[in-house]
């Protein structure tokens, strides 16, 4: 028998940065912009995302002192992004992956990647009711893992150093007990407690400046996977 093209029980979606144009502030406004992800964040605008010849898309903050560029699924109700319209809650052995490349590691810059309900105007690890993601704040040497469950925060130090201009493959995989396992470059660095079923998590990647100097982050790809609903 020929090999199946389709898997009836699980699906995944890989987004290669730039494959359908750059994400803009409104993914429905411009035909040639990406329709799966758009950018949000303090002072973000269409010109904050550009192609880099060798490293994917570049997110660049404006440099006013507290600006952000956040790549996340398009707005609710746009009905065009699988990354928003399907549930990515933990009970489906859901997985998140992204490949990013850090920019300058200075001036208290912040990088964030993973599952969040919403993204704040100023990043604070513990301010979301449910959040399962990586973050790095310059001044603290390593990638950190945060698991917020119903407002209770669990923090883990990955032990992996953040280095400027370096590629990282970040992954968060929920097991059948809804525990998130955090991987950096294929190495398991933290396992969180069981998360809440039915939480409408979304994949996000962010850069935030902390001084009046533009900061950058390269995004190469984002992927999500989950089991389909069971009958």
């Amino acid at each position: 028998m020929a090999e199946n093209m389709l898997d009836p029980h699980r699906f995944s979606r890989v987004w290669i940065a730039g494959q359908k144009g750059t994400p803009g502030a409104d993914s429905t406004a411009i035909a040639l912009e990406d329709h799966e992800f758009e950018i949000t964040g303090t002072a973000s605008s269409d010109d904050d995302v550009t192609y880099d010849d060798d490293h994917g898309l570049v997110l660049a903050t404006d440099g006013n002192g507290a600006d952000q560029v956040i790549v996340g699924p398009q707005t609710a109700g746009d009905d065009a992004s699988i990354f928003r319209e399907y549930s990515w809650s933990p009970e489906n052995e859901t997985e998140f992956e992204c490949v990013i490349r850090t920019g300058a590691w200075a001036n208290s810059v912040i990088f964030v990647a993973g599952w969040n309900l919403t993204m704040p105007a100023t990043w604070v690890a513990g301010d979301d009711n449910d959040r399962i993601c990586f973050y790095a704040v310059q001044g603290t040497a390593n990638w950190q893992c945060v698991v917020n469950i119903g407002g209770t925060d669990h923090l883990g130090n990955s032990g992996v150093i953040v280095v400027a201009s370096t590629v990282y493959h970040l992954a968060i995989r929920f097991d059948s007990d809804r525990r998130p396992s955090f991987y950096i470059n294929d190495r398991l660095v933290y396992v969180g407690p069981p998360c809440t079923a039915g939480t409408a998590l979304l994949p996000w990647v962010m850069v935030e400046e902390a001084t009046a100097a533009s900061k950058t982050l390269h995004v190469r790809s984002i992927a999500c996977a989950r089991n389909w609903g069971v009958n």
């Binding site: 028998m1 020929a2 009836p8 009905d79 065009a80 389909w228 609903g229």
Partner: protein
């Protein structure tokens, strides 16, 4: 990365937005498939959190339909229409769907057809290979294989159950015979089909009563074939 002799295309439901009645009018809608059928409208296709896209029939009258079919001829934006899917290329069709409540004379149809009729009839298409189910008449999935107006309907023996996921596949061998599979189990082999038949993938639902809005969940559709030989 590329295969010079064969290609496949997997369509994941919702990956490019919802399917609408005209794949070319809304930039945020899917451009490969659109929805057609009796009393169909854009609102008949929505996302479901856990099961893909939901196709729903309206309640305008009997026989309302919602069928996913490649974008209209001339739109030039769907590989599922613009490429020949005739059986001579060891063509394959697959889809993953989920049934919902079964009632009245509801009909499900999945497979390869030339066109979609206003009321489904297993003998209406001159050439087709589809899986079908007519509630109240069938208890199992049927295979309707029409070859130049010679119609064969075969019983797959596989029960149709509400709220259940099914994986359907039709795979043509080099002798143009259609091998039909449900959940990886071979349920029927046809006589040789006609080379060059311009059929296309279809996933369709038709309600059996005017007051009923019938649902079908679509997770994915895939096609594969050999490229032309030199």
């Amino acid at each position: 990365m590329l295969n010079p002799h064969r290609f496949s295309r997997v369509w994941q439901a919702g990956q490019k937005g919802l399917a609408g009645v005209d794949a070319t009018t809304a930039q945020n809608e899917d451009h490969e498939f659109e929805i057609i059928g009796e009393a169909v409208s854009d609102s008949d296709c929505v996302y479901d959190d856990d099961h893909g896209l939901v196709l729903s029939t309206s309640t305008a009258g009997d026989d309302d339909q919602c069928a996913l079919f490649p974008s209209t001829a001339g739109d030039d934006c769907s590989i599922f229409r613009e490429t020949n899917w005739g059986p001579e290329n060891e063509t394959e069709f697959e889809c993953v769907i989920r049934t919902e409540t079964l009632a009245d004379a509801d009909i499900y149809v999945f497979g390869l057809m030339l066109s979609w009729p206003a009321t489904y009839d297993s003998a209406v298409d001159a050439n087709q290979v589809v899986f079908s189910y007519l509630h109240g008449t069938d208890t199992t999935w049927q295979v309707d294989a029409n070859i130049a107006n010679v119609d064969v309907s075969a019983d797959s023996g596989v029960l149709v159950v509400a709220n259940t996921v099914y994986h359907f596949a039709i795979r043509f061998d080099k002798d143009l015979r259609a091998h039909c599979f449900i959940n990886d189990q071979e349920v029927f082999v046809s006589n040789p089909m006609i080379a060059g038949v311009a059929w296309m993938p279809i996933v369709a639902v038709e309600a059996g009563a005017g007051s009923e809005s019938m649902n079908l969940y679509v997770r994915s559709i895939a096609m594969a074939r050999n490229w032309g030989v030199n």
